[in-house]
Symmetry: C2
Subunit: 336 residues, 2 copies
């Protein structure tokens, strides 16, 4: 069933059918109704491919996701669902491209074969080949998380630096003078993963500025990773009174491990985190944290991308989100 057949059945030309569907030109109400009834009766829907070819836009966005063997935390994956929904709300579809590491064919297919109108890049690194490539090609894209070339492209990101600094201020104000920071795994730091990098830097800066003791540790994205890191921290700095982490995969393990060591939260140790609401509320006890607002970020990334596609000339959008810390009772004054 194609547009020609509809045209014949309705006794009009193909262009009239097209205009009835697009509304881009006046059509007498009577013919419009006739055409519409034929369309409904036939259950006709225009071919997306043909439209894309003629019209020059696919109404599809590419989403580049990291390959499985990388640590894609389940919460990173929430972005995938959120992006798909945000796009669907705007009548766009999302084409997935597992990329990074050795599998770049899918990525090349998306841009090279023009299967998509624009691209969303997530899990970006400081030196990001794909971002560089897209910039060079002038292909519309937005990253979720910055790269080292942040002025060169549009992005949406969480202000890890600011959030870490803010939490350090809050802890300091409560009398904490010995604070531990639990980061993402060492290898992510090695790969110049933005949040790990910026958070660590902000932690060390705040520590120096405020004159606070403590230490930073990388930690595997797992409960068991958290157990060993807490063991390590309590051995090296038994006097620690607060723990700050951006590793939500480890958060549950952190709470367990502290309990195992007989440290009560918040009486003995305060815990603060940057983590999704889900994780922060599900651990026992719940943790005072700044949300990672995946849905909001995804929507804004999609909107920013659609704007870049329709107005490639306008200024690049840079959106730094800084959600506030929600008190869930895991933070208290420092034990003397």
């Amino acid at each position: 069933m194609n547009i020609r057949e509809i045209a014949e059945r309705a006794g009009v030309s193909r262009s009239t059918v097209s205009y009835v569907l697009s509304g881009k030109r006046q059509v007498t109400e009577v013919t419009r109704l006739r055409v519409m009834s034929v369309i409904d009766e036939a259950g006709y829907r225009p071919s997306a491919m043909a439209r894309a070819l003629a019209h020059g836009e696919t109404r599809t966005l590419g989403l580049v996701i990291p390959p499985l063997h990388h640590h894609l935390s389940s919460e990173q994956l929430q972005f995938v669902g959120a992006v798909a929904e945000a796009a669907a709300d705007r009548d766009y579809d999302i084409l997935l491209s597992p990329s990074g590491g050795d599998r770049e064919e899918a990525f090349d297919r998306l841009v090279g074969e023009r299967k998509v109108d624009g691209i969303l890049l997530m899990e970006t690194r400081w030196h990001d080949r794909r971002a560089r490539l897209l910039t060079e090609m002038g292909f519309p894209f937005v990253t979720i998380g910055r790269t080292g070339a942040e002025r060169e492209h549009a992005w949406v990101d969480l202000d890890y630096s600011g959030l870490v600094a803010e939490s350090m201020r809050q802890l300091f104000a409560l009398g904490h003078r010995n604070i531990a920071f639990i980061n993402r795994p060492q290898e992510m730091l090695d790969q110049e993963y933005g949040p790990a990098l910026r958070s660590l830097e902000a932690f060390e800066n705040a520590r120096t500025r405020l004159g606070v003791d403590g230490l930073a540790r990388c930690c595997e994205d797992s409960a068991s990773g958290a157990h060993s890191v807490i063991d390590d921290i309590l051995e090296v700095v038994p006097a620690v009174t607060a723990v700050l982490t951006i590793n939500e995969q480890a958060l549950g393990g952190v709470m367990e491990a502290l309990q195992r060591h007989g440290r009560r939260v918040p009486q003995d140790v305060s815990v603060m985190a940057i983590a999704s609401v889900r994780v922060a509320t599900q651990v026992q006890p719940a943790v005072t944290a700044a949300d990672v607002p995946a849905e909001q970020m995804s929507q804004q990334a999609v909107d920013a991308l659609l704007r870049r596609i329709s107005d490639p000339g306008t200024a690049l959008e840079h959106l730094l989100l800084s959600p506030s810390f929600l008190d869930r009772g895991s933070v208290g004054p420092a034990r003397r």
Copy 2:
């Protein structure tokens, strides 16, 4: 840059360029090389849309995912990544369609506008509107997880019934006569979610058959959900010696809660699960479990779908996987 331009630069016809690219007809080595060098020099890649239109296939598969407000467990999301990789390995792309609930437009777009060659359906329910629709339309699709109409379409599924029965046998053999089963949330049962349904049934059957005491409980997909369920179970049946669960989101909470109640694993209580390796190994202590082999299932689903697309006439493939339980030490003889 299009095929005409390449043809002109190489001094051949468009068809020759096309044949050089597809290899569907003999081309003299010398012209082949000439054409290839022009192509490389120009960085030319044929337009996917034009090819799709002419050739009648999009080389894209649709993946229908449940909307966010449903319980998008990390386990489910692993499938998304795994399916994308499996497809990429076969030079196919994956188009995401959030569906279920009130958002069906994206789904209709995929099939109605023929954006994809076939569809993978996940999170299927017993009565599944989408599966029914696709069956009626004769559209190629494969489900990950069965529906009530399992003979009507191809599927890949985990044998929850068999696995639950098997674990009950193993526990029985170890002397357990009082076994609790922890299911997915009540609402998933209400929605006739296959694994929840079949597992519960298998549990009750085994209990009757073996003459074992115990009880089944639904449980929210979270640690806190697990805590209350374990509280409940230990209050109702203090003599319980084994816990079996298919709720991997709750597994960590189950272990914590047992510990909180002073029950050691496996000395006081044995724990068995159907869960991803990642979760089963990350909880403390690790749990003896049957893997949910997401990667394997995704690959097989993609392959089955590609076969359906190329040979729509062949028999529907039904693939029931039954991974074996991997001993991680959380199961022991029943305490007397």
